[in-house]
């Protein structure tokens, strides 16, 4: 057996005394504090005992108990209770006291902290009948408590005088030979000095209480981060950084035009997936691509990187042709109309594109055809005849999204012609089971025609080599990597790049002159052509992988086209294209736990957001707060109101407003002089730490996580103001007034830092704060450059502007009204939808089983609808779970009967998922 100890560590005092007392054979080795003896712990833990079995004990109390038991002493419940008290009650107090006494030289205050535990110990000893804590002779409890208290009690501390019984007990133990030997070995020096290296390595104790164990779930995630502890060194470093102030003030330069890559700078090219022109984007689309990319673009610009952010509408395809037919316009007119709608929505959301273009431009034709010819010349295109679905009713070939049927892989009944929404696999439209034209619901026929294919198998090894490098060096989100990996694992097949349509980029090959490019060959080329419409020197971005880093933002369904298909085209074209370095994919955002659906009128769509009366910044804040990063998330009105009121209003807004108001009211609008005390420095260190976290997360495009750290900073700030009460101190004597000044000055500087960190998320609010504080422009570059430094950017004497509240409360009735407006249609419609669903499905599936009873079905349909309403009402009232379950079961039963009456098999009834049309 081997025992590892380090000098100046009170825990080691316990175990060495235990070894001496029990005489257990054990090899004691003294090591450095930093030595990692226990292989599975990431922080050094001493003392540690290597057991004969090869296991490790790293708890000093467990080691002591083990030694005592080995020497034949029986454990008992009382011992357990004392040991638990020592670890959970005494140790936290001791750690805090040691910190004060050893590092801050405040011995008197340290002994105050120990009053509680010592008084308890004294009571127990005085009531006890034995000289030692649990029995006549020295037990493991005595050794453990003696070792823990030794640093304080041996020093004839002022605390001890009051506690006679503790004093007698302690002196008795201190007289033990074993204890004396332990002191010699572990604490060779005099006084508390010898403990310093040990205490410095301990996390400084948080003055605030431990996290309430009840609130461990998501609601507490805000509070829990606040309890981080700060070491002495951190504190001093933070104070030093702070005192540096703003460095030479370089005004952020105006955006040049055009923005081009520059030698010696980080050149970032950002794209967000091109929204399809004739869908009005919903909140999920907005957060998934344009808003996420916007936040990162703004952040990049603040960091001093050279950023170009391009996006635009994807305009070609049958859907546009159709829409044009519906509205009696030409496809070009439709695109013009809806492009403007998109541009307006994004501008309302303050998405700051460097260029927002479109795919229906001559540049698109030029670049797409160039890539096509290059692929053709290099033999990466194959010719093949394809069987295609043609709807005789509509007299045209059915594009992928215009046919629906059963998925050949997972049998999901609503798979689209190109991809299954359920299993995510790609589908060849002719493989669909029971295909139906989505326009007229007729069954299409199969007709063959000649098409061109991108020879993906031939490009596969090149692609894999590139992917290995890109995913290893870049910041690909885990879902992007996994989706890509699964595609490669399944093996690549040639992919058709031509279509029998009119509204598209024409295929220049004479043999295919009536065809256009398939949208997924064409659309990503839009990134290039949109850049080309922005600047003639677009190739400096797109054919410059040495200088440019490319970020693609999208939702997860778009990943394969950006990680596999498009890079293959570019690799095959062999023109030194810039390929994606960082692929950032979000998961899905749901709407109040269901999906956004235009046809059902469920959810908030981009054009409606501004009619809600909720400011653009609040929308941005909430969408980013629930950004589906790593997991699907949901938009909820109630939650939006809650987050607005608790985070924006009560946390962030409240703090910034208070800080500014104190300057205005108490110091005539000029930042007061600041004399930093330990607690101020602690706060600086905490804020500095949050700032560094923010930067390291944002550098990795963890946008939602970054926001949490901003909110932590204002939480620290609020707590700081609350504890220091400057509004009371300002009325006190000189010293108190100075204290009020320091607290106000530090707070208003934190507000200034917050304005910078908030800029990517809520740009208008950020600007307002800086105007209110009259903040110098240089504060941005100073605080966010390199690893980030929190400096005093509003020095004493700085005059701030007029302070006013930043946010407004969202009232419950307002939210209730909005919820009704945007989700209301759904509540009324689901029931008829679900009921109506059954009939067409039954016919379509061709499984009209005998035994169907239309009359009964009608009655049941009514009953299902009524029961459905009942359940919804109950759920709305948050009724007892049991009551809801009871009604839900009735509903399910009714649905089963209904299905039978309609001649369907009862099993797969999932009415909400039934066909909606």
């Amino acid at each position: 057996m081997k025992l590892y100890i380090s000098e100046g560590n009170p825990h080691c005092l316990k175990v060495v005394a235990a070894v001496e007392l029990t005489l257990v054979q054990c090899d004691v080795q003294c090591v450095n504090h930093e030595e990692r003896v226990v292989p599975f712990l990431s922080r050094p833990a001493l003392p540690a005992l290597l057991l004969p079995s090869g296991g490790h004990l790293f708890s000093s109390n467990a080691i002591c108990q083990y030694l005592f038991e080995t020497s034949g002493r029986k454990p008992n419940p009382l011992i357990n209770q004392w040991l638990e008290w020592e670890t959970t009650e005494l140790q936290p107090a001791l750690l805090q006291a040691l910190h004060m006494a050893v590092l801050q030289g405040k011995a008197t205050e340290a002994s105050k902290i120990l009053q509680g535990p010592l008084s308890y110990l004294d009571q127990c000893l005085s009531k006890g009948t034995t000289p030692c804590l649990t029995e006549e002779s020295v037990s493991v409890v005595d050794v453990v408590l003696w070792g823990a208290l030794h640093p304080f009690l041996s020093d004839s501390s002022p605390a001890l005088g009051e506690w006679k019984c503790v004093q007698a007990w302690f002196e008795r133990l201190a007289g033990e030979k074993a204890c004396q030997a332990a002191v010699l070995k572990v604490l060779p020096g005099k006084g508390l000095e010898v403990l310093k290296p040990f205490v410095q390595r301990q996390p400084a104790p948080a003055s605030s209480q431990r996290r309430d164990p009840q609130s461990c779930n998501s609601t507490a995630s805000e509070a829990e981060d606040a309890v981080r502890v700060v070491s002495e060194e951190e504190m001093e470093a933070a104070a030093l950084t702070w005192s540096r102030g703003l460095t030479a003030c370089t005004e952020p330069p105006e955006k040049p035009h055009p923005i081009l890559p520059q030698e010696g700078r980080r050149n970032l090219l950002l794209t967000s997936a091109l929204p399809y022109v004739n869908n009005v984007p919903h909140l999920g689309n907005i957060i998934g691509c344009v808003l996420s990319a916007d936040v990162f673009a703004r952040y990049g610009r603040l960091r001093g990187w050279n950023v170009l952010y391009v996006c635009g509408t994807d305009e070609y395809g049958t859907a546009t042709e159709n829409k044009a037919r519906e509205e009696g316009l030409t496809p070009q007119q439709i695109c013009d109309k809806y492009h403007a709608v998109h541009a307006e929505i994004y501008s309302w959301f303050q998405v700051d594109f460097d260029f927002f273009g479109r795919t229906t431009t001559p540049k698109q034709t030029e670049i797409a055809q160039d890539i096509f010819w290059r692929l053709h010349e290099r033999g990466f295109l194959l010719e093949d005849t394809v069987e295609q679905l043609r709807c005789e009713g509509c007299r045209r070939f059915l594009a992928d999204r215009f046919v629906e049927g059963g998925c050949p892989h997972c049998s999901y009944p609503e798979a689209r012609g190109d991809q299954c929404d359920k299993c995510g696999k790609l589908i060849n439209a002719v493989e669909l089971k029971n295909p139906l034209c989505k326009v007229c619901s007729k069954t299409p026929i199969i007709q063959s025609s000649k098409h061109l294919f991108l020879d993906l198998p031939k490009l596969e090894s090149q692609l894999e080599q590139w992917l290995d490098k890109s995913t290893a060096a870049g910041d690909w989100t885990p879902n992007a990597k996994q989706i890509t990996r699964s595609w490669l694992r399944d093996g690549l097949k040639p992919r058709c790049i031509t279509r029998d349509l009119k509204w598209g980029t024409p295929v220049p090959h004479p043999d295919f002159k009536d065809k256009v490019f398939y949208v997924w060959f064409d659309a990503p080329i839009g990134y290039l052509s949109i850049t080309a419409n922005y600047t003639d020197q677009w190739e400096k971005w797109w054919k410059n992988p040495e200088q440019v880093e490319l970020y693609n933002f999208m939702a997860k369904d778009n990943v394969p086209f950006h990680s596999v298909v498009f890079p293959s085209s570019l690799l095959g074209a062999q023109d030194n294209y810039t390929l994606v370095n960082h692929l950032v994919a979000t998961e899905y955002l749901n709407y109040e736990d269901t999906k956004f659906s235009k046809s059902r009128g469920v959810g908030v769509f981009g054009d409606m957001a501004k009619d809600t009366g909720v400011p653009s910044d609040v929308w941005r804040f909430y969408l980013l707060y629930v950004r589906p990063e790593g997991q699907d998330s949901a938009f909820s009105w109630a939650d939006m109101a809650l987050k607005n009121n608790s985070e924006l209003l009560n946390n962030l807004g409240n703090f910034i407003n208070r800080a500014g108001m104190f300057v205005t009211k108490f110091f005539e609008g000029c930042v007061p002089a600041m004399e930093l005390l330990v607690e101020d420095k602690t706060l600086l260190a905490q804020v500095g730490w949050e700032l560094r976290q923010y930067i390291s997360l944002m550098d990795k495009v963890k946008i939602r996580d970054g926001l949490k750290h901003i909110l932590n900073i204002s939480r620290h700030g609020n707590q700081y103001i609350q504890v220091n009460e400057p509004w009371k101190k300002i009325k006190g004597g000189d010293q108190d007034r100075q204290r009020a000044g320091t607290v106000t000055g530090v707070s208003v500087n934190i507000a200034c830092l917050l304005s910078v960190l908030l800029q990517p998320y809520v740009p208008t609010t950020s600007r307002t704060i800086r105007e209110q504080l009259n903040a110098p422009a240089a504060c941005v570059s100073t605080m966010l450059h390199a690893g980030g430094s929190f400096v005093c950017s509003l020095p004493a004497g700085h005059a701030i502007g007029t302070v006013s509240p930043l946010f407004q409360k969202l009232e419950a009735d307002q939210i209730e009204a909005l919820k009704k407006k945007f989700g209301g249609q759904q509540a009324q419609k689901v029931a008829p939808d679900a009921a109506a669903a059954a009939a067409p499905v039954a016919v379509n599936d061709g499984v009209v089983v005998s035994g169907a009873d239309p009359e009964r079905a009608k009655q049941l349909m009514q009953a299902v609808a009524e029961q459905g309403d009942k359940v919804r009402v109950l759920k709305g009232q948050k009724a007892e779970k049991a009551a809801i379950t009871l009604e839900v079961n009735k509903l399910l039963d009714l649905k089963k009967q209904l299905a039978l009456a309609e001649g369907k098999s009862a099993e797969p009834t999932a009415p909400q998922k039934g066909k909606k049309k």
Binding site: P39, L57, N61, I63, E69, Q482, I483, Q631
Partner: protein, 172 residues
């Protein structure tokens, strides 16, 4: 929280008589009034329940085993309870490494340490994203095993350990 945990443990141990607990202090330390005076502290009360149920093996079957159980129980109340987000990462990382070649925390059988660690880690594991669960694969495996351990879960919701369907690259 601690009280729910105690009631779950009572059920797990099959104790017929359900005790009444009180708490003391800001940290809501559970207290049980017994014939020998008050028992204070989660570990103390739990050990007492185990002895009541005549299941001493749950506290360890040898000196070494008992010390191991003690150590992990202590780890639970000092390191897991009330940990910050950063500390939680360390806890998960360390446990993940430790559990690499183990089925239970102490020795080769289920002990009180497993039960209380399961209760204590639950709020942490609930919050893990799918890919994090994959990252802490050994903790996840142990956790899943424990949540299916007969009659242990009670007051806690089951944590879905299956992988999200989206990661079709997953291997199961």
């Amino acid at each position: 929280m601690a009280l729910k945990e105690l009631s779950s443990l009572e059920k797990f141990l099959g104790l017929k008589k359900h005790n009444k607990y009180s708490t003391q202090g800001d940290n809501k330390v559970p207290v049980l009034q017994s014939n020998n005076g008050p028992m204070v502290g989660l570990l103390t009360v739990c050990s007492h329940l185990v002895n009541e149920a005549k299941r001493p093996e749950l506290l360890g079957t040898s000196t070494e085993h008992r010390a191991m159980v003690h150590q992990w129980l202590e780890y639970r109340v000092t390191k897991v309870d009330g940990c910050t987000r950063e500390e939680a990462k360390t806890v998960l990382k360390d446990l993940n490494l430790y559990l690499q070649d183990k089925v239970y925390l102490a020795g080769n059988c289920f002990t009180l340490a497993d039960a209380l660690m399961y209760y204590g880690l639950h709020p942490l594991v609930v919050d893990l994203a799918v890919h994090e669960k994959e990252h802490y694969v050994n903790v996840t495996r142990w956790f899943d095993h424990l949540q299916h351990y007969p009659r242990l879960r009670h007051h806690l919701c089951p944590v879905v350990v299956l992988r999200n369907r989206v990661y079709i690259g997953g291997h199961h």
